[in-house]
Structures are given as structure tokens and as C-alpha cells.
């Protein structure tokens, strides 16, 4: 998880499109020939963001739905643990193997 945090920081910085918009506007101000290049860069960044979003896991549902499902799974694990504990604490006897 420690290796993911710097990556998450850089992702947060990369999430913003404003610097790219600013670069495009600056190029237009200067009437430079790099406007097209900047626009292409902007579109590429948007495309990358789309691909990144498509690959992100767990965003098929809203946060509230996900929290609900998480609670359901936790409850399931708790119930099954209790059931197993109950069975294991029963008077179990060894089953002799058929000779």
C-alpha cells in the first residue's frame, strides 16, 4: 500500500485538466503554432483518463450501494463463523474408517 500512495498523489495531480486548458489558452494568446499540439495533448489526456476510469475496479455501483454490499458480506462472514463454531463445539466423535 505504501507504493500506491505516491501513485495516488500523482493521480490526483493528473486528474486536473485546468493546467492543460491554461496551456492551450496561452498558446492561443501567443498565436503560436503549438496550439494544435496542445489540443492533441489535451485530448490524449482525456482519452487516458477515460481508459483509466474504465479499468478502475469497484466503481460499477455508487458508494452507498458498495457500502451496503460490504456490510452484507461482513454479516455473512460473521454468521458463517458462528455456525462453524457451533458445529465444532458439538459432541463430535471420530468416524471409523471402513476396513
Amino acid at each position: 500500500m505504501a507504493t500506491n500512495q505516491p501513485k495516488q498523489g500523482s493521480e490526483n495531480d493528473d486528474c486536473s485538466f485546468l493546467p492543460l486548458v491554461h496551456d492551450v489558452i496561452k498558446c492561443m494568446d501567443k498565436d503560436s503554432q503549438d496550439v494544435h499540439q496542445e489540443l492533441v495533448k489535451f485530448k490524449t489526456r482525456i482519452q487516458e483518463a477515460r481508459e483509466q476510469i474504465g479499468a478502475m475496479p469497484g466503481i460499477d455501483m455508487s458508494l452507498s450501494e458498495q457500502q451496503q454490499e460490504l456490510e452484507t458480506l461482513r454479516e455473512q462472514v460473521r454468521t458463517k463463523n458462528q455456525l462453524l463454531q457451533k458445529y465444532k463445539s458439538l459432541c463430535m466423535f471420530e468416524v471409523p474408517k471402513a476396513s
Binding site: 495516488q8 493521480e11 490526483n12 486528474c15 486536473s16 485538466f17 485546468l18 486548458v21 492551450v24 489558452i25 492561443m28 494568446d29 489540443l39 489535451f42 482525456i46 483518463a49 477515460r50 476510469i53 474504465g54 478502475m56 475496479p57 469497484g58 466503481i59 460499477d60 455501483m61 455508487s62 458508494l63 452507498s64 450501494e65 458498495q66 457500502q67 454490499e69 460490504l70 458480506l73 461482513r74 455473512q76 462472514v77 458463517k80 463463523n81 455456525l83 462453524l84 458445529y87 465444532k88 466423535f93 468416524v95 471409523p96
Partner: protein, 260 residues
């Protein structure tokens, strides 16, 4: 505007993040015309009804929303990982429960078999108790069967001995049935002369000597009937034989059947 924003945020909270992220990126669409307009308005420095300002504000707002949604998406990714771990645990628990279920089923089968066999044995015990017979009577009966040498040859039997474990022809003729079939129809005393053998009258030499052959030949030592106990003594039974049988019955080593 504030109402619109609050409604939009409510709507976004209910929607999956996968839908909302592309929406924030492309609304308003960052096309060339928009940027040209912004650049133009900036270069001209002319107030144009605040439209460009509104557009810029909208752009900034959308960028902020996008960053917020990305943060939420990352949190959801962590939650998703936790959910995957929990799902694996649930699967493992399910396997354990199934294993325990199989063992329980096997144990129940074994117990059912054992209980059934025990019940059958109890029934047999009850049945045996109801039809209990004294061991003395059984031993007496065994002696009577053995005494006829039907199960084992006599100790002094040698090949050539006419004695057999079954009634021979001579013995049948010398018995009651043989006598009945030779009732007087002609001849003296009901016997044809020279027909002593056919009449079943054996010379004493050839008469087989059996323990039961005494005055009670006519009574016979028939085996007891079914349902009747073995203790019924025929009338006129030889007391000596009875004593012998009783003495033998109490002695477990005297049975003729234990010659191995």
C-alpha cells in the same frame, strides 16, 4: 444555481462512479470553439455579459467535481479489494460447512445402522426369552438322538457290522409296523412256516442291541412333536436309561457328539 448544484449532487450520489466520471469530463465539452472564445475574450479584454466568466467558473467547477469523483473512485477501489477478501472468506467458510455437513451425514448413517442392528438384536433376545427351554431338556434330547448312533458310529463299530444309522430292513420288519403287516391271514399263529425272517423275527444273535430296545419297543422312542416340550416321558420308560441320560446330561463331557 445553488438549487441546481444541490440537485445535481443528489443525482450524482445515486449514480455509479463509472457513469459520473466521463460525464464530468465532457460537460461542457472542451472543444476548440470554446477555448477560442475564451482566448479571444481574454485577449480583447472586453466584458461580454460575463458569459466567459461563467464558462470559466463552470470549467473550474467541473474540474473540481472530477477530482472529487476520482478520489471517491479510489476509495471505492479500496473497498472493492476488501470486498474481494471477504468473498474469499465466505467461500472458504462455505467449503468448511459443506465438509462438516458430509461428516455429519456419514455419522448419521453409521448411527442409524448401529441403532437398527441393536434393535434387531433386542428383538432376538426377547424372542429367545419367550421361547426359553431348559438346558437340561435340550441335553436330554441330544442324548436321545445320539444314543441311537444316528450322528456317530458306535465306538466298537467295524466295517462289516450290520448296524446302520438308519433303521434297516430287518429292524423295520421286527418293529410294530412289521408285525402289523404280518397279521394272521393263513398258516399257524399267523405265521407261515419257515418264514421267521420275513416275519421279522430275528434270531437273538442277529438282533441288534440298542439302548432303547427293551420292554418299551412297542411304545417306541419317537422324537417329540413340535410345540411340545421335550420333557414328556413316554409311559413305562426305562428308569435306568433315564438315570443314565440324566447323569450324562449333567456331565458336559459325556455327550456322544463331542467325539472329534
Amino acid at each position: 444555481m445553488a438549487v441546481r448544484l444541490s440537485l445535481a449532487s443528489t443525482w450524482r450520489a445515486a449514480r455509479p462512479s463509472k457513469e459520473m466520471l466521463p460525464h464530468t469530463m465532457t460537460d461542457p465539452p472542451p472543444n476548440r470553439e470554446l477555448i477560442e472564445m475564451l482566448a479571444l475574450s481574454r485577449s480583447q479584454k472586453l466584458p461580454q455579459g460575463g458569459e466567459d466568466t461563467q464558462i470559466l467558473e463552470l470549467l473550474v467547477q467541473r474540474d473540481r467535481e472530477f477530482q472529487e469523483l476520482m478520489r471517491v473512485a479510489q476509495e471505492q477501489g479500496k473497498v472493492h479489494q476488501e470486498m474481494q477478501v471477504l468473498e474469499k472468506e465466505v467461500e472458504k467458510r462455505d467449503c468448511d460447512i459443506q465438509q462438516l455437513q458430509k461428516q455429519l451425514k456419514e455419522a448419521e448413517h453409521i448411527l442409524a445402522t448401529a441403532v437398527y442392528q441393536a434393535k434387531e438384536k433386542l428383538k432376538s433376545i426377547d424372542k429367545a426369552r419367550k421361547g426359553s427351554i431348559s438346558s437340561e431338556e435340550i441335553i436330554k434330547y441330544a442324548h436321545r438322538i445320539s444314543a441311537s448312533n444316528a450322528v456317530c458310529a458306535p465306538l466298537n463299530w467295524v466295517p462289516g457290522d450290520p448296524r446302520r444309522p438308519y433303521p434297516t430292513d430287518l429292524e423295520m420288519r421286527s418293529g410294530m409296523l412289521g408285525h402289523m403287516s404280518n397279521l394272521p391271514t393263513n398258516g399257524v399263529n399267523g405265521h407261515l412256516p419257515g418264514d421267521a425272517l420275513a416275519a421279522g423275527r430275528l434270531p437273538d444273535v442277529l438282533t441288534p442291541q440298542y439302548p432303547w430296545q427293551s420292554s418299551d419297543v412297542s411304545v417306541g422312542m419317537l422324537p417329540p412333536h413340535h410345540g411340545n416340550d421335550f420333557g414328556l416321558e413316554p409311559p413305562g420308560h426305562n428308569k435306568e436309561n433315564e438315570d443314565d441320560v440324566e447323569a450324562m446330561s449333567t456331565d458336559s463331557s459325556s455327550s456322544s457328539s463331542d467325539s472329534d
